[in-house]
Symmetry: C2
Subunit: 421 residues, 2 copies
């Protein structure tokens, strides 16, 4: 599926005409074009490579003509560079240039070191988008290549430190966005968190009586399933579950994966009624994580887990609500991170989205906006106090895509993204 | 300026490549392409032809190759057909086809009858988009042409009654949209009314303290001035004026026109303080219209117009507020219509927009959406009761255009547009 995060890339670099195999074959490309294609290619792995980063690779021959491309397809399997090299012989690779979105790996992990494999090929140079953010290996892959007499140069240096061209700025931004999960994980030791919601033009997520089906159209809802498929874990509030009794699975053609599901369930209401809920039919218990108010847990008279609980749940986090009356979202994210969820999609619920906004605890938003008015319903910022226009919440690296009549707006948190850990 | 209403046309018919004079010259066009260009051309007159309709015309030679185009440019001056015919000789026009967005006029008005002028030319046929909606002359222009031995055929008939092709459906819709003001006027004897507002993604038009400058960016604000320039009258509420002290003039490069300004001023507060307000420096008094509560007017002790008023205002409508506590917007529109305002742009104010929505008294919306969150501010539907998703307010013929980081959403009222009068 088309990832909305590539949209700017496609339009700015005219990628549509370059993505056709026949059109691109032997075509002479600039390094910027090749990097743009490598980024686009990398997104093809979005559903299967976590917790590895998305990586794409394009190889140009000695004349700068397109030879091949590849991406990291599945976690634990071949890296992008190796996939791009497939089927090419040494003659074709003589003095070739490899353009990769991330520094080739130095370490021998599940699949062997890419740098060590490239070192023995007649490739002339490797231009890579970002230095490996893991500080213990940063620069080591490039060093292996340089030691074997090849050029190995990060894209920003290749275009020149003082290059303020729109093209290279856009590409650098897109390289960061491509690797946003991985960079957040490496730099901050925290999961990357995206908020997803559906709203009307007038900013409502539900009617006063909590009705919300359906705000958006079919294309938006399919795209929402794509989003579920590219994040490791899904966070929902108990209100949404008790109100809508949703399946919360991933419904995409030719795709099967079960997300980890994190349920913010202060009073343990979902926990206690789990077997009667639709979602019990679609999720293995080991993939479900409850966040319960420590007070509820301790008042055994009311919440007697041992007696009433279905028994098999092991993933329960008991948290105290803060002075604000709600949990710290960062505590929840940390709990998830430690359990292998490197990226999280929060699906509100007006009150859950409100909490994430209020706590400024998110990296990206996906707002699906339907061109309808829902009147005096429930907004998600109605209790978010903003008293001066200077305090308005802003987003950066915005993308907008039409999905039928709806519009998907996505962007990064203006203040929060990429704190250097 | 690019009119957002042509956007669908441009993308569906690939007009960008056809709008260049050099590229289109002698190019063979389909009737649909020619009609699309005629519509696009017609919009060029949007700022100057009211109360006449927007009309565009394309002429193809006997081989179907592009000869010329023209539009109605200024009220009282040459019609589109005459402008398109300029500079063409009889030889070029031999067996030519004229494609016009509206039936050529039959009557001799300010500029003579187009049908009578075309009748004497060697043109073979005229394909026109819409029948003249004014029932006294509907079909008469076409009849004059037919009587002189030419084909004269409305576009829907030309493509065939049973043609359900997307292309012809789109064109017919676009022809109606092009003529929306004129059609509303003719069919309903009412003005065409568009609502315009700026909002944040979360649906807020101002902070709780009424701050709202600036929600949208510069491109949006320039486009808002374009909108002012294409409507005959501008309706604003006293709240906006007293809060922001705006100029409410049209600020566009190389353009000067003074709109008629209708101020909904229940307590006559703006009326009484007019001379101290910024707008007094930008508007002639004869162009200002006040809507005042009849009760306020009659309590002379409080509102002594004769003593305090600046004196020169003649356009005051005294209205009773209905049981809802607000004026009937339709009464206000009728007052404007009778004073030559065939199209109106309502610039809210959350409460004025709310009233127009609540009374379902509008034909089109222009919502400028900035990708920011404004929190617990003022929405425009917070008191619009909607209790079932079936009651959601919808729009049709939607267009969305990116204006910098902002998005302009425009569409027609789903329930209200084109009531047959």
């Amino acid at each position: 599926m088309f990832d909305v995060r590539c949209q700017k890339l496609i339009s700015e670099f005219g990628l549509r005409s370059l993505l056709n195999e026949l059109d691109i074959s032997k075509k002479k490309l600039t390094v910027a074009q090749a990097m743009a294609i490598a980024i686009y290619e990398a997104y093809q792995g979005a559903q299967r490579v976590s917790p590895n980063p998305l990586v794409g690779c394009v190889i140009l021959d000695s004349h700068g003509q397109f030879l091949s491309k590849g991406h990291h397809e599945v976690y634990g399997q071949a890296h992008a560079e190796i996939n791009a090299l497939k089927g090419l012989d040494k003659e074709q690779l003589q003095d070739a240039t490899m353009i990769v979105t991330l520094e080739p790996c130095a370490h021998v992990g599940k699949t062997g070191s890419c740098a060590l494999q490239i070192k023995d090929l007649p490739v002339k140079r490797v231009i890579y988008g970002l230095v490996d953010p893991f500080h213990l290996v940063a620069g080591k892959g490039a060093q292996i290549l340089r030691d074997s007499g090849k050029e190995a140069i990060v894209y920003a240096d290749y275009v020149g430190m003082d290059n303020n061209g729109q093209e290279s700025r856009l590409l650098n931004q897109q390289l960061e966005i491509l690797a946003e999960n991985f960079l957040k994980n490496s730099r901050a030791q925290k999961p990357f968190v995206a908020l997803k919601w559906a709203q009307s033009l007038d900013g409502k997520m539900a009617l006063k009586n909590y009705q919300s089906q359906w705000i958006t159209g079919e294309l938006s809802r399919t795209y929402a399933h794509y989003l579920r498929s590219i994040y490791d874990g899904l966070i929902v509030g108990s209100g949404t579950i008790l109100q809508d009794n949703p399946k919360l699975n991933i419904r995409l053609e030719n795709f099967s994966k079960e997300s980890k599901l994190v349920i913010i369930d202060p009073e343990a209401t979902v926990y206690k009624t789990f077997e009667s809920l639709e979602l019990s039919r679609y999720h293995k218990k080991e993939n479900i994580f409850f966040i319960v108010d420590a007070k509820s847990a301790s008042s055994a008279a009311v919440f007697d887990f041992s007696a009433q609980a279905p028994g098999a749940f092991k993933n329960i986090l008991f948290l105290n609500r803060g002075t604000s009356g709600f949990f710290s979202m960062q505590d929840i994210y940390q709990f998830c991170f430690e359990r292998g969820m490197k990226s999280l999609l929060v699906e509100g619920g007006p009150s859950l989205i409100h909490q994430c906004l209020k706590q400024n605890a998110f990296d990206r938003i996906y707002a699906f906006v339907a061109p309808i008015l829902m009147g005096n319903g429930l907004g998600y910022t109605d209790e978010l106090p903003i008293t001066s226009m200077n305090q308005k919440m802003q987003f950066t690296a915005l993308e907008k895509i039409e999905l039928g009549d709806d519009l998907l707006v996505t962007g990064l948190n203006w203040t929060y993204c990429y704190p250097i850990g």
